[in-house]
């Protein structure tokens, strides 16, 4: 019995230390994991693995012929292929190969600065449209083409939300560039205006 009490004591003492250490740790985590982070992390893992395939796959977002899906994602339970989280390096490679960049921010933000050649689909407006209207808007884009959704960078989340909206519409290679336009500009990549 004494041993059992000691075990409980050690466990609780270690647990409290852990909670305190986590609280003061700038890299600490919340007690409950965010589902979004989970999805993003798995997406990131897939992307890093599939990278070599991508280099061999030619694609064009505007082509009429179907193009191989570089990420080779499989539909999830809800029937859509989940967006991939991509790094700045990969985003630049996709940019160089004519992928479609989508800015999820509002029109004024887009007008002040955006990645060169990107189109503006403000998430707030887009999300409030009926599904039919959304489909119509996106009809001109190739479902198999690569779409990179971004926003400001840092902690902005509209890119994730918009990416999932697009994926739900049937786009098979949607990726999220979390670095956003700020990281893009800092890396010295082309921006407009």
């Amino acid at each position: 019995m004494k041993v059992f009490k000691q075990i409980i004591f050690i466990f609780i003492a270690a647990g409290i230390t852990g909670v305190i250490a986590n609280a003061v740790n700038p890299k600490g985590v919340p007690f409950i994991m965010d589902k979004n982070i989970y999805a993003l992390d798995t997406a990131k893992k897939k992307t890093e693995k599939k990278l070599p395939d991508f280099r061999n796959d030619p694609y064009d977002t505007t082509a009429n012929k179907p193009v191989n899906n570089v990420f080779n994602g499989t539909p999830n339970k809800e029937g859509f292929i989940e967006p991939e989280n991509i790094s700045g390096t990969l985003a630049k490679q996709l940019f160089d190969r004519n992928a479609l960049f989508v800015d999820a921010r509002t029109k004024p933000e887009y007008d002040s600065l955006h990645i060169k050649g990107s189109v503006n689909i403000p998430y707030e407006e887009f999300h409030n449209l009926p599904v039919d209207r959304r489909k119509e808007m996106m009809r001109k884009y190739n479902k198999d083409g690569i779409i990179v959704v971004y926003c400001k960078g840092g902690k902005c989340e509209v890119s994730i939300d918009l990416a999932y909206d697009l994926a739900r519409l049937g786009f098979r290679s949607v990726s999220i560039y979390r670095g956003g336009v700020h990281e893009w500009k800092e890396s010295g990549h082309p921006v407009e205006p």
Binding site: A14, G15, A21, K27, M33, D41
Partner: protein
């Protein structure tokens, strides 16, 4: 055999080796709960809501157990805790191996490189350490205890 296993020096060596492994395994995770949480996620065994709590608490339990083992404080409860965590890791590792998960075990480093041999090696190491914790639990004890055991044995022999 009993005498050999309860030898003071052997006990100390086993304790320090296992303690050192526990500490070595925990230092990377202590201040990096986010990466450790991802490592736990890769096992695909735990519900999402306990992942972070595990990532916060487990490394510190591991660290305390290692520290207490090295200093030989509260040997019995600590060896039980060490054995429990080893069994826990073993279950996770074996299930990951059986399911053919191609993951890094997240035992020592938290990088996402994957190698299956890594997991197999860890499973074998785990078994050895488990044996070690048993030796500590069963044959460690204060000098007095050991002397009593020995004297009881002697009496039995005399009889």
């Amino acid at each position: 055999m009993r005498e050999f296993l309860s030898n003071k020096y052997l006990q100390t060596v086993v304790r320090i080796v296992i303690g050192a492994v526990f500490i070595y395994a925990s230092v990377n995770k202590l201040f990096n709960p986010a990466d450790f949480a991802k490592a736990i996620l890769r096992y695909d065994m735990t519900p999402l809501f306990v992942v972070n709590i595990m990532a916060i608490i487990l490394p510190w339990v591991e660290f305390s157990v290692g520290l207490l083992l090295i200093f030989g404080i509260m040997k019995k409860p600590v060896s039980i805790m060490a054995a429990f965590s080893l069994v826990f890791f073993l279950i996770a590792l074996i299930s990951a191996y059986a399911r053919g998960l191609d993951i890094n075990c997240g035992c020592f480093s938290l990088e996402e490189t994957s190698s299956k041999s890594d997991i197999l090696q860890r499973i074998i190491e785990d078994f050895f350490m488990l044996a070690g914790t048993y030796i500590i639990y069963k044959y460690s004890g204060s000098k007095k205890e050991l002397e009593t055991i020995n004297s009881v044995n002697n009496i039995n022999e005399v009889k």
